[in-house]
């Protein structure tokens, strides 16, 4: 072990496999709405749906490499939720999730995304995850990017034991997904700025365009670094049999969320009306970034975790 800040060859291989799969299946613009069944099966065959679970060989770093690629194509469906399930569900359920036969929804007290279509319905409340299925007769709503959402009354059946691990991994993977998506958004805007000419020169020459792009690029790079650091910490603690430590995954999630939203804002400014067409390439990405940024995991508990970490740190350094 040593301080080594680059993906290993196995992690790169996972990333490349997922990128290849996405290129082949998703192609240009991802569809609105839920994930087509054959894509989901493809993810399961690649082994993506079991990453970081107790049975998996790959840990959070492999999962991070995979989710950055999924984010880059705005891959649809409850992918982050599947891996949360891999932390908190029972063994036989985990196996079904890994095979792609069981899908998991993670929502708030009355909203359950991807329902119907998810057999397991979890509810986030503070730092806890509950198994809390929706009663029959729920109302079907449609979200910003046409992902199905159900609204209804939940019955809490049990608080899941490894809630914290599940939520921490969820924050980490949402961060990885958003980093991948935001990198792509910045690249699209930069390409546009470089190639589109106005008044006889590329608009990217203009300080007013180049500077905000560089600014969001810094935000995305820093979120990516935090995500990698959090993934390393996760794997380290898993190897040593410890639970997740508070903070780093939360920092990654908060930073990635902010960076990705800011990237969308700037990219839409740079690309003008071209950024708003359904065919893409920008709109499908930014739509899904907004959707994921408002995930039920939320930001309040992440900030609490961050403060707890700060507190522990100061305790160490100042005795």
């Amino acid at each position: 072990m040593s301080l080594d800040l680059a993906f290993s060859s196995e992690q790169l291989a996972v990333g490349e496999a997922v990128a290849g799969f996405c290129r082949e299946r998703v192609g240009g613009a991802p569809p609105a709405g839920d994930c087509p069944a054959d894509w989901w099966q493809g993810l399961a065959e690649l082994g993506v749906l079991e990453l970081a679970s107790p049975e998996a060989e790959g840990g959070a770093l492999e999962a991070t490499a995979a989710f950055e690629e999924l984010g880059a194509v705005a891959f649809p469906g409850p992918v982050v939720e599947a891996l949360i399930g891999g932390q908190v569900l029972r063994r036989e359920e985990r196996a079904a999730v890994a095979r792609g036969a069981l899908r998991v929804s993670v929502g708030t007290h009355d909203l359950a995304p991807f329902v119907p279509g998810c057999e397991v319905q979890l509810e986030v409340s503070g730092q806890s995850l509950f198994r809390a299925p929706l009663a029959a007769g729920f109302e079907s709503l449609s979200s910003l990017d046409a992902e199905p959402v159900a609204r209804g009354v939940r019955t809490r059946e049990e608080r899941l034991e490894r809630s914290r691990a599940g939520l921490d991994l969820g924050r980490l993977l949402l961060a990885a997904y958003l980093v991948g998506a935001a990198r792509r958004v910045v690249a699209l805007a930069a390409d546009h700025a470089r190639t589109r000419t106005q008044f006889g020169r590329p608009i990217g020459d203009f300080q007013a365009v180049a500077h905000p792009l560089a600014d969001v690029y810094i935000g995305v790079a820093s979120a990516e670094t935090l995500t990698h650091a959090a993934a390393c910490e996760w794997d380290e603690r898993r190897d040593e049999g410890e639970g997740p430590s508070p903070g780093l995954a939360a920092a990654a999630w908060l930073a990635a969320r902010e960076a990705a939203l800011e990237a969308c804002h700037v990219a839409h400014q740079v690309m003008g009306a071209q950024g708003m067409t359904l065919e893409g390439p920008l709109y499908p990405l930014s739509r899904r970034i907004r959707q994921r940024a408002s995930h039920a995991i939320g930001t309040a508990t992440a900030r609490e975790s961050m403060v707890a970490r700060l507190d522990a740190r100061v305790g160490e350094s100042l005795g």
Binding site: S2, A193, H228, A251, L310
Partner: protein, 310 residues
């Protein structure tokens, strides 16, 4: 990928920390600043322990860890220039203080009044200028580090260090700056958190108020990211885009940390009885060095989006 130090790195860092806790720290920084002195004793101790040659003997990442730790301990010394930047340009690391100079700069230069070697960034090349230590005029400074005046003639003289050296100097300078900023930001934040935990208002520690915690959390996220960005850049050998991202992020973070730590500490943060100013005033000068975050951001644009960039 692994964000944990290995045994050897941890051992180096532990002994660096012990040495710094004995020989540096805010109290010593205040005393040295009052005299406008450079910490020659600390330099000797670091050299005798072999820490100033970490870059050549172990690697740039280990030297980077030293630079960040020295900044956290408010070392009044050219650690970044001597332990990290000079080894990237010179075959032999000088035994005298090193000052980093921009040929087109007009302002005072950090540590120049004590420097025996100036490394001058002059367009495509870097030049090595040897001066008698103490020969350059000191400039009074309120920012913690002693400054000196480098005359125009000296900025244009000296021995050219070969093709590409100008760009190499700027890259490693940016990296050192990012590490120093990150170390000082971390220390400023830690000082503030410690104060807010003991200071009480309305019967509670100030630090327990949620509005305060959220502001501290935002600073903590940024300082954490700054440190990893800088260490990552060091690990990869200071490539242009990475060091520019690290420096820009660290400079923006410094501005935010300065604002928040002083807002949250109130007037006491500015007094000489409180350690915050030792770090925060440094942040103010470091965050503007090399043109500040605007110049770093421009470097990112050039590296990332110039004609023919990847």
């Amino acid at each position: 990928m692994d964000f944990e130090l290995d045994g050897e790195q941890q051992a180096i860092l532990d002994s660096v920390d012990v040495l710094l806790s004995l020989r540096a720290g805010p109290e010593r920084a205040i005393a040295l600043a009052a005299k406008g002195e450079l910490d020659h004793d600390l330099a000797r101790a670091l050299r005798e322990a072999g820490f100033l040659s970490l870059a050549t003997e172990v690697g740039p990442l280990e030297a980077a860890l030293l630079v960040e730790r020295a900044a956290r301990a408010a070392a009044v010394l050219d650690v970044g220039a001597r332990a990290l930047v000079a080894p990237a340009l010179l075959r032999e690391v000088p035994d005298v203080p090193v000052a980093l100079v921009h040929a087109d700069g007009r302002g005072p230069v950090r540590h120049a009044a004590f420097a025996g070697v100036l490394l001058v960034a002059d367009g495509a090349v870097a030049r090595l200028v040897r001066v008698e230590p103490g020969s350059l005029a000191p400039v009074r400074s309120g920012y913690g580090d002693p400054l000196g005046f480098v005359p125009e003639a000296l900025r244009r003289s000296g021995e050219a260090l070969g093709a590409g050296s100008g760009e190499r100097l700027l890259r490693w300078w940016r990296l050192a700056l990012a590490l120093e900023l990150s170390g000082a930001s971390t220390a400023a934040l830690a000082t503030t958190v410690a104060y807010l935990k003991q200071r009480r208002q309305f019967g509670r520690a100030i630090g327990s108020f949620q509005a305060v915690q959220h502001r501290l959390a935002r600073c903590a996220i940024r300082t954490e990211a700054s440190r990893w960005l800088a260490l990552e850049a060091a690990h990869h050998g200071a490539p242009g885009e990475r060091v520019a991202v690290a420096a820009a992020h660290a400079a923006d973070t410094a501005a935010q940390v300065f604002r928040e730590t002083h807002q949250l500490s109130g007037a006491i943060g500015f007094t000489r009885e409180h350690d915050l100013h030792v770090f925060s005033m440094r942040l103010q000068s470091l965050r503007l060095e090399l043109g500040g975050s605007t110049a770093h951001a421009r470097a990112i644009t050039a590296e990332r989006w110039a004609e023919g960039a990847p």
